[in-house]
Amino acid sequence: MTRLTPAPPPGKLIDSPPFKVNAKKELANPVLRKNLRFATHTIRAKRRLRVSEVGEEAWQQLRDAAAEIKDRVARHLDTYLLQLEETLTAKGAVVHWARDAAEANQIVVDLVKAKQVQDVVKIKSMVTQEIDLNESLEANGVAAWETDLAELIVQLGHDRPSHILVPAIHRNRSEVREIFLREMGRYGTPAPADLSNDPPVLAAAARTHLRNKFLAAKVAISGGNFAIAETGTLVIVESEGNGRMCLTLPETLISVVGIEKVLPTFDDLEVFLQLLPRSSTAERMNPYTSMWSGITPGDGPQELHVVLVDNGRTQALADEIGRPALRCIRCSACLNICPVYERVGGHAYGSVYPGPIGIALTPQLRGIKSVIDKSLPFACSLCNACADVCPVQIPLPEIIVHNRNRVAEAKQSERRPHLETTAVGAMTWVWKNPKHWEKMLKLAGLSGKALAALRVQSLGPLPPPISAWSNARDLPAPPAQSFREWWKRNREGAQ
């Protein structure tokens, strides 16, 4: 069967190889590293500036308020969700509940099919990426067109997003030009033949390409940054205006929203609309904020469906340590500050949520069964930079370490021996008793003496598993005398 939309790379994200393998591949791409470094460092500095304008104390108050609101939502999620359903329904929306990705996709596919359309337009949405909605629609003969510029670049590039906010962060403008020239004509209005790699020219080509899709679309699909329980209002925060087009032109709007996106009251938005733009695009305010509450006769879509998706969220909610990951407002400040993300990019994570929030959240949503999910918690040097920038104060390092604990315990409960669990067991024996530790120190001292006799001051490449360290770095040879021994010889007598 011929495809309607550009095919993404084959395979499912959850079947990705472990992080280490993906990272090695991405690290070998110098263009990617250059693009990522430039982009993350630029936005990092801009964010810092925009946050400093608010003032340290006021910013901290906003962060505290955001964390408290989100925690209240988590504590009373059932109440707020039912309230949301009620207010939405009262205002003419139809509410659907989806336990997992398959259910959510089926609901959307059925709704779209009932409209007898072949094409839908989409606003950038993380949850529809998470459930891989586009591929479900494609399999059912419906073409879903991404209208966010970066998502369009990714879609036309037969690619996957590599960043939550800036999905094409791994592409530079010459690559974008090539993708537009090659692909646009196959899926609609072609790019002009004399297309340059000047950003305004590229954006203009995207506008022209998308214009006909907007005008033809009868159905639009959106996500939602916030869903207000009190008023039944959905909120989309965006930069380009493509969202506004999707939210106003088509007759039918389907909004797919994660259940954690609910906020109790309209007033709560005040906090998040100050935190989100400064943390994400590093703007004082984003250019377009759209809010819609049900149906308004004669204005905008006349049919509104809201699909509320769980897909692992209640599992995260049930985990006391993992729960604050549900506070996430998808700003990406943690990705932009992360030294690991900066080097490998989003594709290495095998999840639509990369970076610190990805390795905290993904093993909460998907569990720790797959090879990639087992490896994700370790894709972090625990530098703690993410915790400082998170606008909703998710204790990311704590959740990451907690996910490691889940992986370690799973490993220990397996019957077969692991090198790691064996080594950990040996070191526990050494460190739980100072006498054992002293023996180890003596042994290290003896090897130090032997190495000194051979005039070896440092150790070069060594066999595995130490080779992981010593392939690129020298290890100092242990000294002939530990501190403890020195103290015994020089200080014990003196005291």
Partner: protein, 260 residues
Amino acid sequence: MSQPGDGIRVALFATCINDVMFPNTPKAVVKLLERLGCTVDFPFGQTCCGQMFTNTGYYKEGLTTVHTYVDAFERYDYIVAPSGSCVGAVRHQHPMLAEWAGDELLLARVCKLVPRTFDLSEFLVDVLGVTDVGAFFPHKVTYHATCHSLRVTKVGERPYQLLQAVRGLDFVELPSDEAGLPTAEECCGFGGTFSLKNPDVSVAMVSEKVRNILATGAEYVTAGDNSCLMNIGGLLHRQKAPVKAIHLAEILASTEEDAA
């Protein structure tokens, strides 16, 4: 002559990595604290803070070292370690592990030790109230703010204040990145078992750290943690670079007599 440390008894927490690999650092702490008038004890019951276990996900094993730590140091008012990272582990991970185990008694014992455990730079500046410790180190030195000393233990400006008061020391900052942010605050890529589990990313990170260090023209790179310095120093040594890694304590312990 009265000294800032007069009448203060300090328990030295050498940390396991210093005990076995870098004994010169705890020796320097002893020398420095005694020069400032303190009495220094080295409780033999100490082993490791357990951070390596905890950060790799082995909580049960980490818990055994919490017991060792508490048993060794409980009777002291001041516990000083030349490591922002190990102090951070005592402050944040020990209570977390005791809570995880549901061990209320241990938690109570741990919580008493948390405010009594100091990184060397905190102890000097906050408890002894000194920034000029009478050190002499006639070399060009740059400083790497290790992640845990900066963001977990939050030693802040203290190491800079201490370094700037060292006679003869020519201090040079690590460069800013192209966007104007300080690279001194970026991770060196060590991260304990991270450097073994993700060696390629780790090496990419330390390579950049070393490039930034070389750009300063410094003879020494210093920090409050020998684990990070072992990582940085390991690459400097492999590259045969003319820069040595040295712990902050060893600079602060140096005097004119050492130089002569």
